[in-house]
Amino acid sequence: MASNRERKWFWLSLASLPVLLVVAFRINAWRNIEEYSRLSESEILTGNGNLDYAGALWRLENVRLIGDGRDTAQKFPGAMRLIVVRLVATAHDDIGKNWGQCQVSLTDDTGRRWLPLEVSLSNDISRDLEPKADPVNGCGITSLTPPKKSSAVMIEEKFVVPADAAPKLAAQLSFSASRPKAISLPLGL
């Protein structure tokens, strides 16, 4: 039969198995959590102006609520309203590739989320609202060529929301490299 030495190693290996298993599970879980946190926005920085995020200072430039006949003569059926949000970011750092996978949404206090209209529809609406001006790019397109250090950029996103949610809305923005951190700017409608 096996020598004492072999026997010792056998028991040592067997005893270390649970420890190794736990470590393996930990590492795997940690990776999954990391990946999940790249998708979620759980640490939210709220403020009204000049929020420092992803190498830039962010502020709300302008918000329009269209569809109730006040901003434009246009009246949308039922409770449907169009919200046009413009944000300005002034870079104070070299951004490089840190603005990848931009996520913008409007959120209310009950946790509902409205995602922006897709690019071609958004541009069509821009041309209807201001036929002479070029449409302002959304976050997705802007993030491909972020502003240089100490210069600014404006982004515009459009949302369709119900009228009763409008007073409670905040614009929420995040980039892949900075998630789970995100910024939230109350629209104050």
């Binding site: 949404s105 946790g111 509902r112 989320r113 369709v160 119900p162």
Partner: protein, 186 residues
């Protein structure tokens, strides 16, 4: 004696392993949809969206206007037009996956032959707080329409996501010769 013991151990372990293998739920089932069942007329709510089926109609020919040009689509079976109201509870989302389980159990996806028709729900996006109405259009053999269940989901093949299974009523469905699809539905 030792040999008998060995054979018994092998036999037992083989049985246990076979039992484990036979009872393991397949991956496809573990990661399958989260199903909510209901009937036509009632609001069927999943975790992220809900649907209410208003009306089901059948027609031999569909007709609509596409950029001012009249389009007609005939079928060797029948067209089934389901009008529905959708609500998103949490987040802006599409409801693109729509399938009818026919009488035989076969699955009929929405017909792409009629995807350009007006008011088709799979081309719309549902915003939270704004109920969205429209239609889903299916093409299927007549004998498959005697017993129908509609499956709705964000996309086809939902995994760990909502799937609503709504039994469609048979009463009051008439087979029309031709149906005009307008901007405001049916």
């Amino acid at each position: 004696m030792r040999l008998v013991f060995l054979i018994v151990v092998i036999a037992v372990s083989m049985t246990v392993l076979a039992a484990l293998q036979a009872t393991t739920p397949p991956y496809a089932m573990l990661t399958g949809p989260i199903r909510t069942e209901g009937r036509q007329g009632e609001t069927v709510s999943g975790t992220v969206f809900s649907a209410q089926i208003r009306q089901v109609q059948k027609a031999k020919t569909l007709a609509w206007d596409q950029f001012g040009r009249a389009v007609e689509r005939q079928s060797s079976g029948t067209w089934v037009i389901v009008s529905a109201e959708l609500q998103a509870m949490r987040e802006t989302m599409p409801v693109r996956g729509a399938t009818i389980i026919g009488t035989s159990g076969r699955l009929y996806h929405q017909s792409q032959r009629a995807q350009a028709a007006p008011n088709v729900l799979s081309a719309k996006t549902v915003q939270p707080g704004l109920p969205t109405t429209g239609i889903y259009i299916f093409e299927m053999p007549k004998e498959e329409t005697r017993d129908m269940t509609l499956l709705l989901s964000r996309q086809y093949g939902p995994q760990l996501e909502d799937e609503l299974a709504i039994t469609l009523e048979q009463n009051g469905i008439v087979l029309r010769e031709k149906m005009e699809l307008g901007k405001n539905g049916i």
